[in-house]
């Protein structure tokens, strides 16, 4: 749960903010955020329509069939912004439709629970209609009859905003029967989750939506073949869906060119930085900016701190070193150095932060959030946590680090039922690789300290540190 609060007015009320001014954010270059207000207030329907809102829906319903939409999205190569980077167009093209296939569902994955990630809430809290617009296009492309926004339970503000926006859109005829006179009908409901990380896994999300245990489902069959209530279902991330309207309006080439020649991936990305940096926050930047550029935007590390390592996109990605900052932040470049772009929200770790306690903290999260379905995740991760706790206290035993190596390897992709455990294994594996010495210091020194620079970190450590 996010404890951080900031901003104006009620000090308990958090406002996500974009760090770019309105003058920088232009329609041609910032398709996701150009409509956002500098004052951080919600862009409601009237203002949204003034800013070309729902024009993509009007055009697509009038001019394109589902296949046409899919083709443009496929050509634009919109890659999934939830972290996996799978082509949205390809995903849509695999949805079963036509014939006697029942119309299924379009689900927006808004269960943003990846630690260090806070991009979707900005889009939902301040610009709900862009998501609705994207969902209508997705529904049209996939012949979905009903949309669901599966929203992280703690996002109460987003729930309030989305529900009001959906009412607005329905009243104005952008949702419901016969949208914009096209004969196409579609509506959206907001479903707030009860707060489990696993609900961000698309099939676990579907199970949760159905009211079942939030265990992932085996794939194949993919949701496009048999999803919610056994019907063809598409699950897309908030940011992915928010990319679609501009792609429809301006075309695949325009979208591709947004990133210039930085990367093969097109479009822009809502990047962010957290950690002890001067100005943590969010920026919409061309896909493929380098880590260094992004860190610059955030003003670098706070006074006196030096970057030790960083996570490129949430805690389920692998640790990278300062030397990797020159790489473009795109899916393939980051994958090539043994990590993942993930959500694209960088987490900076300073030199004075001990890796053992940091990993213990992360793995406690992953172990706690395991759904309990498959063995490596359910029983392997708690063992990782206990080993890390011992290492943290200097009570590690010979062989513990090799055991952690093996546990990380055994939780790798393909060995577990879903991607949760591999997501827990990747930071562990990379931390063990890059900072092995810190872990080794935790072996057999009962009174030792493994927390890097003691005075600073000890103050941060939880009091009940067992």
């Amino acid at each position: 749960m996010s404890g951080s609060t900031s901003g104006q007015g009620n000090p308990l009320r958090y406002h996500s903010r974009i760090r770019q001014s309105g003058t920088e954010r232009q329609p041609e270059t910032h398709p996701l955020t150009w409509r956002l207000r500098d004052d951080g207030e919600v862009v409601w329907l009237g203002e949204y329509l003034d800013k070309d809102g729902y024009q993509s829906v009007r055009r697509a319903l009038a001019e394109s069939d589902p296949q046409g939409i899919i083709t443009v999205v496929k050509d634009a190569n919109v890659r999934g912004r939830g972290g996996a980077g799978f082509s949205a167009g390809v995903k849509w093209s695999l949805t079963l439709q036509g014939g006697d296939m029942p119309r299924g569902y379009l689900i927006c994955n808004a269960d943003e629970m990846e630690p260090g990630t806070f991009k979707d809430r900005l889009l939902m809290e301040q610009q709900p209609h862009l998501l609705i617009e994207g969902m209508i296009l997705g529904a049209r492309a996939n012949n979905a009859r009903q949309g669901y926004i599966f929203l992280r339970g703690e996002y109460v503000e987003a729930a309030r905003v989305l529900n009001r926006a959906i009412d607005e859109a329905r009243e104005a005829g952008w949702l419901g029967p016969d949208i914009d006179g096209s004969g196409f009908d579609f509506d959206i409901a907001v479903h707030t989750g009860a707060g489990r990380y696993i609900c961000g896994e698309e099939t676990a999300l579907i199970n949760a939506l159905e009211g079942k245990r939030a265990n992932p489902r085996a794939k194949p069959p993919f949701p496009g073949q048999s999803g919610a209530w056994g019907r063809p279902t598409v699950v897309n991330n908030v940011e992915t869906l928010c990319n679609i309207p501009a792609v429809i309006l301006h075309g695949a080439d325009w979208y591709q060119n947004l990133s210039g020649n930085r990367t093969g991936d097109g479009g822009t990305k809502l990047y962010g930085v957290s950690g002890p940096v001067a100005e943590p926050g969010l920026w919409e930047l061309p896909m493929g900016v380098t880590g260094a550029e992004l860190l610059d935007r955030a003003g670098g590390l706070r006074q006196g701190l030096r970057l030790k390592t960083w996570l490129p996109g949430g805690t389920s990605t692998g640790f990278l070193l300062p030397e990797h900052l020159e790489l473009p932040l795109d899916f393939d470049s980051i994958a090539n150095v043994g990590s993942r772009l993930g959500t694209g929200l960088m987490m900076a770790v300073p030199e004075d932060r001990g890796m053992v306690s940091l990993m213990r903290n992360l793995e406690e999260f992953f172990a706690r959030e395991s759904c309990g379905w498959c063995t490596p995740c359910r029983d392997g991760l708690p063992w990782v946590v206990k080993l890390l706790r011992d290492l943290e206290k200097g009570q590690g035993q010979a062989g513990d680090i090799e055991l952690l190596d093996k546990l990380a390897a055994d939780c790798g992709p393909g060995l577990t039922f879903c991607a949760l455990a591999p997501g827990a294994a990747m930071p562990l594996e990379t931390a063990l690789r890059h900072f092995r010495q810190e872990f080794e210091q935790g072996i057999g020194k009962v009174s030792g300290d493994t927390r890097g620079v003691p005075d600073r970190v000890a103050a941060d450590a939880p009091a009940n540190n067992r």
Partner: protein, 918 residues
Amino acid sequence: MATIHVDGKTYEVNGAHNLLQACLSLGLDIPYFCWHPAMGSVGACRQCAVRQYKDKDDNKGVLVMSCMTPAADQTRIDIDDEEARAFRASVVEWLMINHPHDCPVCEEGGHCHLQDMTVMTGHDRRRYRFNKRTRRNQYLGPFIAHEMNRCITCYRCVRFYNDYAGGTDLGAFGARDNIYFGRYAEGALESPFSGNLTEVCPTGVFTDQSHSDHYTRKWDLQYAPGICHQCAVGCNISPGERYGEIRRIENRYHGEVNSHFLCDRGRFGYGYVNRADRPRVPEWTERPGQEAVTLGVDPALERITGALRQARRIIGIGSPRASLESNHQLLAMVGPENFSTGIESREQACLAMMNRLQETSGLPTPTPREIERHDAILVLGEDPVQSAARLGLNLRQAVLSRREELAEQIGVPAWNAEAVKTLGQDRYHPLHIVWPAPTELDSVAVARHALAPDDIARLGFAVAHAIDPAAPPVDGLDPASQERAGEIAVSLLKAARPLVVSGGSLASEAILEAAGAVARALSRRAAQGGLVLIRREANSTGLSLMGGQTLDWALDELSEGRADAVVVLENDLYQRLPADRVEQALARANTRVVLDHQRTRTAEGADFILPAASFAEGSGTLVNLEGRAQRFFRVFEPAYLRPETRIHESWRWLHTLAAGLRGEAPGDISLDLATRACAGAHPGLAGIVDAAPGPDYRIEGLRLAREPQRYSGRTAMRANLDVNEPRPPQDTDTPFAYSMEGYSGFDRPRQQIPFAWAPGWNSPQAWNKFTDEVGGHLRGGDPGIRLIRPQPGHREYPDPVFDDGATDSSGLRALVLPRVFGGEETSARAEPVRQRMTAPVVILARPDAEALGVRDGDSLTLLGVREGDSLMLFGGPDITVSEQEDWPPGWAGLPAGLLPGLGQGATLTLGKPTGGES
């Protein structure tokens, strides 16, 4: 078929299987937990990892879960791969993290899939040095003991209980490493199939509480192939004995009848065998009311022959819960003209009709396994879960199998269990139930039509007419019923394999005739359908094939003085006809001989009791409701451990008695001779000789061992009686030895398997070693032989006849509802089943309740019962009123077994309990 390559060898396998199924079917060992042959794959435990290569040039490969990977043609895998082996060892290590390692005190020990898999993967050193998480356990009723600490979270229990068996009161709670399988609150598990959890659970979380009460390790039990005697399905069982007691009933795999599962009546209803009050030596009561004295075998036989020789005429009353051999010996002793089946007349008429319909309805009778392949079902006047529980499970699978068809359409294999469930949701094959009371299958049915017996028959005839206009119409049918009939007819006609299920529970020939008419109509429309007819007792079908007079006839012969002696075989007549009628008839006889293994009311009124063998001490043949003759074999010799007992099979007693009556020395008798005598005398039963191998059957020159190789304590077992160990009992009747010496392997195909064991496979999963493919058929063929075959030829429809005659306005009519616990005489004498019997309830329609001045939850007392001329007065127990909205007015629903001898349709006088004293 598909060709796959495993560890460098090439095999032909079923391409519709996954790799785990395929490899296990080949006899290759891959460890697994969450997969189960009857429940498919879910990929949860990750234990069955193997290395799969893309093609023959790929030498890297990736680890895959064999249970989630299709056995596609040219798949190449290595089971014996270093990394795969290491990963599998890791999985067991994780599973054992919180396991209590309490094998020495765990009742699953020696029977435990987790033990087997741990040994198979070679995990033998513990590296986890932290505390284990511990659990509270729940009270789950008299059948199942709960020990959650042992759980390895394979999810099999909830998958069986909820998905397979339709239970609703067991769930998975919590998340991460804190998953709890139990009920939301303590209490008895409600499903009548809960006992299967003891075999489905791979370790000791769910164990057999009745076994626990007199626990013995699996390897210390003595077994024989048994047939469950608790209903007419004929499930194959492995009863296990130690120290002269049956200590546990386990499922014995039969590919066509019970597959992997039993019902709880069959599994936990064996306690009557162990009752202390069983007759164990012959007893003689010189004058009614006097104390019985015990007799030796010879004096008893002398006295009985002496008494019977005095008789002018002896009536023999057989029993549908006794073997064919015993019934035949009785028939042969008294002569066919003096033999009664011991079955009440309406039930007997129904049984005869069911045999006839099975031959002439035009539709064959599917085996229970085949039931699961039918795609539209009409249940007409039966409640299968209560009357033939195991069939209820088959019917449920048939209804659910729609999901597999839907899955196939989008290329999802049937074994991908969760995906199949997801896709199917609540789309089922149509099931139409016509039955007055709620049933366990209602939740998967299109509709249940609550009708009175005659209206059930009317609806059935109307369905037949709607299917085939040549079938006679039903006069005066109301439009609503007409519409229902049309809907059912359309649904059956649309199906490729429609199934009609009916039976004798309501003792209505009209209902059966109607079911037969529907079957005939379907067969005329060339449908590939089936007809299943449910009989009540273990050998109802067999006895009806043998034939004999009704019990009513026998009582009349006695009460009218046309006979003065009666020999009753394993039958409590008070369960079948009103007590006054039975009492009066028996009182007229001069000599009453009862052979039974239970001290029934009939036995207590006898002059002589001969202690008969139950299925535990005796062998014989039963015919189940498919018409399958199956042999059961004695598990142990009671006199070995209790030399004072004189228990013998009834056929053996009767053979000797008959010789005595003829004044001859008893000749040889053996199981084989008894079976052959029966087969030779009754053409319809000629096939029973081939139902099982004879006493000379040997494998590799060996008898078949009744005891596992590790059976311990044999030399000390009788040490309390005599320190010299006598020669073990010799079994000349069967091919089985009372010993661990003999064949007990799996590599030579055989049908008769007392217990399943294979090296490395101690749990019930060992059955996979005996089948042609996992979940398939025994490699030696499934036991038993079908006796009833459909006869070719066109037959006319019967004219609808309804049998409810004039309604009696003076009271409500009894509608006796079968029930799984308490509805069967012998299992109702077993303690755990007694505990699971529901409190007595009378179901009433609202107007009838109002007329009686009672509401739901109030109490009523049964004051009197009138059946024909017979009137009985009760001061019976208080019965709780249950008002049911759609219950047919004029009828009072009462659970079977509550009032023994109460006939369907009897007129009841109900009144409020006289208040004040309690």
